[in-house]
C-alpha cells in the first residue's frame, strides 16, 4: 500500500461522507455546502490519479461555478436564513431511486471494466490533452458546445417569457454610465421624460401589459 493508496482512500471517505450528508441534511443550504465538499473531494480523487488538469476543471466548474449558482439560486428564492430547516418528505422515494441508480451503475461499471487489466495511472502533459481534444475529438467537442449553446438560449427564452410576453416591447430602465437612472419606454428611440413622470408612465404600462396577458 503506497502513499497514494492511503490518500486515495482518505479522499474517497471524505467524498462519500460529504455525499451522504448532502442527501440527508435537512437544511437546503447545508446540503449545497456538503455538495461543494463532495465535488471538491472528486477533484481530490482526480488529483491522486494524476489527472491534474481534470482536477482543476472540476474545481473551477463544479465548486467555483455550479455550487455557487446553486447557492445563489437557493438564497435568492427559498433558503431560510439562519438555522431553519426546509425538508421535503420524500425520503423513501429518494432512497429507492438512489439505490436503484447505484445498483445499475455499479453493475454496468463492473460489467464493462471488471476484466480490464490494472494499470498505474500516468500523468499526461496538458499539451497532449489539448492536441488530442482539438485534433482527434474536435467534432464531439463542437457538438457539445452546440448543445451547451442551445441550452443557454433555451434558458434565456424561458427567463424572458417569465418577465413579460417574449419579444414584446416593455418598459425597461436604461442606465448609461454616469447618467442618473431614467425610464424609457420601448426601444432606444423614445425621449426621456422627467424622472417622476416616466416612473408613473412605466408603472401604468406594466399593469396594462399584465392585463392583456390575462
Amino acid at each position: 500500500m503506497t502513499g497514494y493508496d492511503v490518500v486515495f482512500v482518505l479522499v474517497g471517505l471524505v467524498t462519500a461522507g460529504a455525499a451522504m450528508l448532502t442527501v440527508t441534511s435537512k437544511n437546503l443550504v447545508h446540503a449545497a455546502l456538503h455538495l461543494a465538499v463532495t465535488l471538491a473531494g472528486i477533484a481530490g480523487v482526480f488529483l491522486v490519479l494524476h489527472a491534474d488538469f481534470l482536477a482543476l476543471v472540476q474545481l473551477i466548474v463544479y465548486v467555483g461555478a455550479v455550487t455557487v449558482l446553486f447557492l445563489f439560486g437557493l438564497m435568492l428564492t427559498r433558503a431560510p436564513i439562519g438555522r431553519e430547516a426546509l425538508d421535503s418528505q420524500n425520503r423513501g422515494l429518494g432512497l429507492a431511486v438512489a439505490g436503484g441508480l447505484f445498483v445499475t451503475l455499479s453493475a454496468l461499471i463492473v460489467m464493462a471494466y471488471g476484466g480490464a487489466e490494472r494499470v498505474t495511472p500516468q500523468r499526461v502533459a496538458t499539451e497532449d490533452i489539448g492536441i488530442s481534444i482539438f485534433r482527434d475529438w474536435v467534432l464531439p467537442f463542437e457538438v457539445l458546445s452546440m448543445l451547451l449553446l442551445a441550452a443557454l438560449i433555451g434558458a434565456i427564452v424561458l427567463a424572458r417569457r417569465e418577465a413579460g410576453d417574449s419579444g414584446e416591447a416593455q418598459d425597461q430602465t436604461i442606465i448609461d454610465f454616469g447618467d442618473a437612472p431614467r425610464d424609457e419606454q420601448g426601444g432606444p428611440g423614445a425621449t426621456p421624460a422627467g424622472a417622476g413622470g416616466a416612473a408613473e408612465l412605466g408603472s401604468g404600462d406594466t399593469t396594462t401589459s399584465a392585463g392583456e396577458r390575462r
Partner: protein, 369 residues
C-alpha cells in the same frame, strides 16, 4: 502535481533515510517553502494595507496614521492586536458552524494562490505546469466563503451582500479568464514561470526589440485589471459591502478575528492579483524589457542570478506589485461606486465581448507571425 511531489519525495526519503538537517532533504525544503509562502502571505497584505492608508490619506489631503510606530507604520499591527482582543460575537439566529467556518473558507484559497506565484528568479514554492489555471481555479472558490458568511449571519443585509458577491464573481470571472487565456496563447504555456520566460524572449515581429505582453495586449491587460478589481470587490466595484446601502454587506455581523480574516483575504487578494498581472503582462522580474538582471546574463536574464540578482529580482517584483496596488487604491479614491445593474451591464455587454475579440485577435496574430 503538488501531491505528487509530496508523496514521491516522502517515499524517496524513507528509502534514503536522509537526515532532517540535510538541505537536500524533502522536509526542510518543504518547510522553507511553506514558511516563505506564509511569511509573504502575512507580511505583504500589511504593507499594502499601510500603503493604502497613507496613499488614500494623501490623496484626500490628510496625513493618515501617524502615531503607531514611525510615520504610523505599525498601525495595522496595532489593529491586529485590537482585533484579537475583541469579543467574538455570534448572532443568536446565526448558523453557528457555517458562520464560524466562512472566514476561513475565504482565507484559505487566498493563501493557496501564493504557492504558485513567482516573486523573483527562483523564488517560488512550486512551478506547476498548470500554474495559471491553478491560480484562476483557486480564486473562484473563495466566493463560497463570502456566500456562506452572508447566509449564515441571518441578516438580510448580509444575505444581499453575499448574493451580490456571487453575482459579481460569476459576471467577472469570465472576462478575467478569457484575458488570461489570451496571454497563455501568446506565451504558449500555462506555467507562470514559463510565461515570464516567454516574455523575456518575445520580440516585436520582424525586429529584435523585446517587449512585455502588456504592449501587444494592452486591451487584455485593461480587461484583466478591471475584472480583477471586481473579483476582489474593490471600489468602484464594492457593491457586496456597499456601506451606504448594506451596512457592511456580508461582513456586517463579523467581529474580531473573523472580520480580520475577511480583511486579510481582501488585501492578500490584491497582492496575488497584482502578482498575477506582473507575471502575465509586466515581464515578471525583468527591470525593463530586454534588460537582464545583474548576475544572471547567462541564463537569458531570468534564472540562476546569484544572491544579488535574486534580491534585485524580488525587489523589482515587489515594486511592480506595489505600483499596481497603488493604482487600485487610486481608483478607489477617484471613482464613486457603481450600481449593481451597471456592474452587470459593464461585464456582460462590454468586457466579455471585448475579451472575446482580444482572444480572437491574439490567436490570429499568434498563427500569422
Amino acid at each position: 502535481m503538488i501531491l505528487d511531489t509530496v508523496l514521491t519525495t516522502s517515499t524517496a526519503m524513507v528509502a534514503q533515510t536522509a537526515g532532517l538537517l540535510d538541505t537536500d532533504s524533502f522536509l526542510v525544503s518543504m518547510l522553507l517553502k511553506v514558511a516563505l509562502v506564509i511569511g509573504l502571505f502575512l507580511s505583504l497584505p500589511l504593507i499594502v494595507g499601510y500603503m493604502e492608508h497613507k496613499a488614500m490619506a494623501r490623496l484626500q489631503h490628510r496625513r493618515g496614521p501617524m502615531f503607531a510606530g514611525p510615520a504610523g507604520s505599525l498601525q495595522l499591527v496595532a489593529d491586529g492586536i485590537k482585533f484579537i482582543q475583541k469579543e467574538d460575537v455570534i448572532p443568536r439566529a446565526a448558523d453557528k458552524w457555517v458562520f464560524a467556518i466562512a472566514p476561513g473558507m475565504a482565507l484559505v484559497p487566498a493563501l493557496l494562490i501564493f504557492f504558485v506565484l513567482p516573486f523573483g528568479p527562483g523564488v517560488w514554492a512550486a512551478d506547476l505546469e498548470l500554474g495559471l489555471f491553478y491560480a484562476l481555479a483557486i480564486t473562484s472558490i473563495s466566493v463560497l466563503g463570502v456566500m456562506m458568511g452572508g447566509w449564515a449571519s441571518a441578516n438580510k443585509f448580509s444575505l444581499i451582500g453575499g448574493l451580490r458577491a456571487a453575482g459579481q464573481l460569476i459576471a467577472y470571472e469570465l472576462p478575467l479568464i478569457l484575458a488570461a487565456i489570451a496571454v497563455a496563447v501568446q506565451a504558449g504555456s500555462l506555467s507562470l514561470v514559463g510565461i515570464v520566460e516567454s516574455q523575456a524572449t518575445f520580440m516585436v515581429a520582424g525586429t529584435d526589440i523585446n517587449v512585455w505582453f502588456v504592449f501587444p495586449q494592452i486591451l487584455g491587460f485593461t480587461i484583466f485589471f478591471v475584472a480583477a478589481l471586481a473579483e476582489l470587490s474593490r471600489p468602484p466595484f464594492d457593491m457586496p459591502i456597499a456601506d451606504s446601502e448594506l451596512v457592511f454587506g456580508y461582513m456586517t455581523e463579523y467581529t474580531g478575528l473573523k472580520f480580520a480574516m475577511y480583511l486579510l483575504t481582501e488585501y492578500a487578494g490584491m497582492v496575488s492579483m497584482s502578482a498575477l498581472m506582473v507575471v502575465l503582462y509586466l515581464g515578471g522580474w525583468q527591470i525593463l524589457p530586454g534588460v537582464p538582471l545583474p548576475g544572471c546574463e547567462a541564463g537569458g536574464g531570468l534564472f540562476d542570478c546569484g544572491v544579488l540578482g535574486t534580491l534585485i529580482g524580488v525587489g523589482v517584483v515587489m515594486g511592480k506589485i506595489l505600483m499596481l496596488t497603488f493604482v487600485m487604491v487610486w481608483l478607489r479614491v477617484a471613482y464613486p461606486r457603481l450600481r449593481e445593474d451597471q456592474l452587470q451591464r459593464m461585464s456582460w455587454l462590454v468586457l466579455v465581448p471585448l475579451s472575446l475579440v482580444n482572444l480572437a485577435v491574439v490567436a490570429v496574430a499568434k498563427v500569422v507571425f
